[in-house]
């Protein structure tokens, strides 16, 4: 008996069985969204380094890996975690990104006021990160997994060290854009492992 026949002929069947196609569709959609946002994140990075000037766009450019309050890169052991845990980390990181991207946008509005496309991409990235985080949360809920839980305080609400100058601000913006790219592509990979293979 196929899943569809089961849901038609037996309305009393387990709801998780009847919602399986819905879950698969949700995962598939969220995976497609993550794939699209990975492309956008690459474009954002390219646009960003172009406006900071060399050496930012040069191959081999390796600025210090500055720690960012409230967000770090995916850990080396991330791939070995169970799927729900990976998605929880993805959702948490994506939720932490929008305020950081907003700060970078405000900085770049001072440094590069005549770069409307860069500023727009940064604004879009914040919105996109929020959307993808919510979509991943929805997948987690459909999987019956725990929500991601409260993350760190939004970065805008905490004052840490002040910037020592323009160059560090450029480096930090690069770091945030890189983190955004790392986490959306990480999310794409994690969802890709859940996408059912073969015809649905």
């Amino acid at each position: 008996m196929s899943r569809r026949e089961g849901s038609l002929e037996n309305p009393q069947a387990d709801s998780s069985v009847s919602s399986l196609p819905l879950l698969e569709a949700k995962i598939h959609q969220t995976h497609s969204l993550a794939r699209l946002l990975t492309k956008y994140a690459e474009q954002l990075l390219q646009e960003y380094v172009q406006h900071q000037g060399d050496p930012f766009g040069l191959p081999g450019f390796s600025p210090p890996r500055m720690p960012v309050v409230g967000l770090s890169a995916p850990a080396p052991g991330h791939e070995g975690l169970p799927a729900p845990e990976r998605l929880q980390l993805d959702a948490r990181a994506l939720a932490a990104l929008p305020p950081l991207l907003d700060v970078v946008r405000r900085l770049q509005a001072e440094l590069n006021p005549r770069a409307p496309r860069l500023l727009r991409r940064l604004e879009d990235a914040a919105r996109q990160a929020r959307a993808l985080s919510a979509a991943v949360e929805a997948v987690l809920a459909a999987l019956g997994a725990e929500p991601r839980g409260p993350g760190p305080e939004p970065a805008a609400a905490t004052a840490a060290a002040t910037a020592a100058g323009v160059f560090p601000a450029k480096v930090l913006g690069l770091r945030v854009c890189s983190l955004y790219h790392e986490w959306v592509s990480r999310t794409e990979a994690d969802l890709g492992q859940l996408v059912p293979r073969g015809p649905s």
């Binding site: 960012v68 060290a161 910037a163 100058g165 323009v166 560090p168 450029k170």
Partner: protein, 409 residues
């Protein structure tokens, strides 16, 4: 790129405006992390300099030994390694740099001056802003759409390129009283323009000027004084229709409506018409279509599609003595002239082009005269009436297929 030679220490530096007060991150130059990385500080941080000036900078390394010493450090500027002869070791932990005859900054976010350890790792960075103070903006021109708003444009100074972000601010005030106001909607009709959407007074002059400011200084344009009523423009005439004039193969009739936005105000409108053949880019302009809402184009090619546009100048509004400002052209409207019924050379029953078997010399001269009159007086109704009647008679006498319509003018 700066020239590779030592120069006098003639540094004119000015710290740039502070960035956002709240930044959320650890910074380059913070105490080292557990990995044992060392950091440095460049001085000055983010200086602003005139083109052609010199800069002396230092890179001072921090951190517990063993760590990089000044001996192994080197500089890059915008990713290019600077010649060693420009650097000098001041002490064990400090490397100095002397740059002379600086060129304008390569990007608006500042040139990236970076201090590197021997292994190439980045220890510190500073952004240089090298440019020129702004020159006086000039050539301010303004116009008001239907007396409701004011848009102004200007030219940004003699050379324009300052290599630094330069902010332009359009200011205005009523001439005899009132405070300075600042325009807020920029780049509406190009990069150096601003739009004032409302709260404008009529019958009283405004003073308008532009202030340009960047990290190296500011400049102010001359003041332009104007009355809104002297710079009024309006919408293009709506409902432009182009149609044939009966069977007349070389004429088209153009009709339009005067712009409705100004219909309640006293003014004498002027109109201009322009037209072109479908596959041409050359427009012909009919000037001096005074206060009419129709016109007949003549001397056109038969069997040809023409595009026509009309625009309006609302001069003399409320008694203004000034010329007024032409509106945009209306959307192009197309129509075709009738094909010529007279067969071409070598085809069919031949008739001499433009001739008639029974035309005598008087008729030929009359035809030539009226043809000339029509070409040089497009909107002269009297000549059209006479010419139309004569053409209609010509066509009828040659047994053409087209019926001649009665003159409706």
């Amino acid at each position: 790129m700066p020239a590779g030679r030592l120069g006098p220490a003639a540094q004119s530096a000015r710290r740039p405006p502070p960035l956002l007060p709240l930044l959320l991150f650890c910074v380059l130059g913070a105490p080292r992390d557990g990995s044992g990385a060392h950091t440095a500080v460049i001085s000055p941080q983010d200086p602003t300099l005139l083109i052609g000036s010199s800069l002396q900078a230092t890179c001072s390394v921090h951190g517990d030994p063993p760590g990089p010493t000044a001996e192994g450090l080197y500089w890059t500027l915008n990713g290019h390694r600077l010649p060693p002869e420009l650097s000098r070791v001041l002490n064990a932990s400090t490397l100095a740099l002397a740059l002379a005859n600086l060129n304008g900054s390569r990007q608006q976010s500042g040139d990236n001056l970076v201090c590197h350890a021997r292994d190439g790792s980045i220890l510190a960075g500073s952004c240089l802003y090298v440019g020129l103070p702004p020159e006086k903006p000039f050539n301010i021109s303004c116009w008001s759409k239907n007396m409701k708003d004011l848009t102004c444009r200007w030219t940004p100074g003699a050379h324009g390129e300052t290599f630094l972000h330069t902010n332009y601010s359009l200011k205005y005030k009523l001439r005899w009283y009132g405070q300075d106001n600042t325009c807020e909607e920029y780049h509406t009709v190009g990069p150096h323009s601003c739009h004032i959407p409302k709260d404008l007074a009529l019958f009283t002059p405004y003073e308008i000027w532009v202030e340009a400011t960047n990290r190296l200084g500011s400049a102010r344009s001359d003041v332009l004084t104007l009355d809104i009523l002297d710079v009024v423009t309006t919408d293009p005439p709506p409902d432009v229709h182009v149609s044939r004039v009966g069977g007349l193969e070389d004429q088209l009739s153009v009709r339009w409506v005067s712009p409705p936005a100004l219909k309640d105000f006293l003014f004498q409108a002027k109109y201009q018409i322009r037209y072109r053949v479908e596959d041409s880019v050359d427009w012909k302009v009919v000037d001096d279509v005074s206060n009419q809402t129709s016109c007949r184009l003549a001397g056109l090619k038969p069997g040809t599609v023409y595009f026509v546009q009309v625009r309006c100048n609302p001069f003399g509004i409320y008694g203004s003595k000034k010329a007024g400002i032409w509106s945009e052209w209306s959307h192009p409207t197309a129509a075709s002239t009738p094909r010529s019924e007279r067969p071409g050379p070598g085809g069919g029953a031949c008739e001499q082009r433009g001739g008639e078997p029974s035309s005598g010399p008087v008729r030929r001269e009359l035809k030539q005269f009226l043809g000339w009159l029509k070409k040089h007086a497009y909107c002269s109704n009297l000549s059209f009436r006479l010419y139309d009647q004569w053409r209609a008679w010509m066509q009828k006498s040659h047994k053409t297929r087209n019926q001649v319509l009665p003159d409706k003018l």
